[in-house]
């Protein structure tokens, strides 16, 4: 399900939003964008202004965050430039059980890349799933093309 992001008109931030999200509408005051997957968008404004801008950005069917720090070289450092994090709502819950050792391995791996355990688990699995589905789609297209050639 796509999510909608409504931002106030400001030429400094429009370019970055257009690069990451699909523009679907515009009024005199706002521009409406649509997103499907999570995106990290540089705001191209200074911190005090970024906080004000963040409060005026509205997200429907998803959520927004303005991280004050991020993970760099193995530790949390204050964010030098403001970036907006937008993602679709995650209403579906999957619970899995892991052994203590499996959990520790996952935790160590997640820490190395600066992610939480559940977020890293989701990313690892979903990357494989998207890749698998893309490969299947490609195989299907090749099969159809061969069938056509055969005709």
């Amino acid at each position: 399900m796509p999510y909608l992001v409504k931002i106030p008109k400001d030429p400094r931030v429009e370019k970055a939003f257009s690069f990451h999200l699909k523009k679907i509408g515009e009024t005199d005051e706002f521009i409406l964008y649509q997103g499907i997957v999570e995106a990290i968008i540089p705001l191209n404004v200074d911190w005090p202004e970024a906080v004000d801008l963040y409060q005026r950005i509205k997200v429907e069917g998803g959520y927004k965050r303005l991280p004050l720090s991020w993970y760099e070289n193995g530790q949390n450092v204050p964010a030098r430039q403001p970036v907006l994090f937008v993602a679709p709502k995650r209403n579906n819950i999957i619970r899995i059980r892991l052994s203590e050792e499996e959990y520790e391995l996952l935790k160590r791996d997640a820490r190395e890349v600066g992610e939480s355990v559940s977020s890293w688990a989701r990313k690892l699995v979903m990357n494989i799933v998207w890749e698998y589905l893309e490969r299947e789609k490609f195989k299907e297209a090749m099969r159809k093309a061969k069938e056509k050639e055969g005709c």
Binding site: V37, R95, R97, S99, R122, V129
Partner: protein, 134 residues
């Protein structure tokens, strides 16, 4: 998880399987070997090239510390005790994609979380191999 099994069960193919999953031999005694590792595994009668009765006898001698063994016919599953729970939240698109991939791989209905866990463990093993930890 520690697995103690009769030496005759550690054929070259089984030993290779253990090695691929990062298991290490920690002790060898008369007729038995103890291995230590993290991930669950399966040993089949076909892999050992023995009949079901002989396989059942061998499985009786297997002991698992920090995990459990279950034999179903010619297949022995050894799994670690799963005491940790993690909750993962997915968007609708991600959930649908996961369901589709799981169905195509033969996981149906309530096995979605099994598919998620199996895929996660495979991804972890692949990452560890890449990092040279195995």
């Amino acid at each position: 998880m520690k697995i103690m099994l009769p030496k005759e069960m550690l054929s070259s193919r089984v030993a290779k399987g253990f090695e691929e999953l990062g298991y290490k031999i920690i002790s060898e005694e008369d007729g038995s070997v103890t291995l230590e590792g993290v991930f669950s595994l399966r040993i089949t009668a076909t892999l050992l090239n023995v009949g079901i009765r002989k396989f059942a006898e061998l499985c009786e001698k297997v002991t698992v510390e920090g995990g459990k063994k279950i034999r179903r016919g010619g297949e022995l599953s050894i799994t670690p005790l799963r005491s940790r729970k993690i909750t993962v939240r997915l968007s609708q698109d991600e959930y649908e994609a996961l369901k589709k991939a799981a169905k195509e791989r033969g996981y149906t209905g309530r096995k979605l979380s099994s598919f998620f866990r199996d895929t996660l463990i495979s991804a972890l093993i692949a990452r560890m191999e890449k990092k040279g930890e195995f």
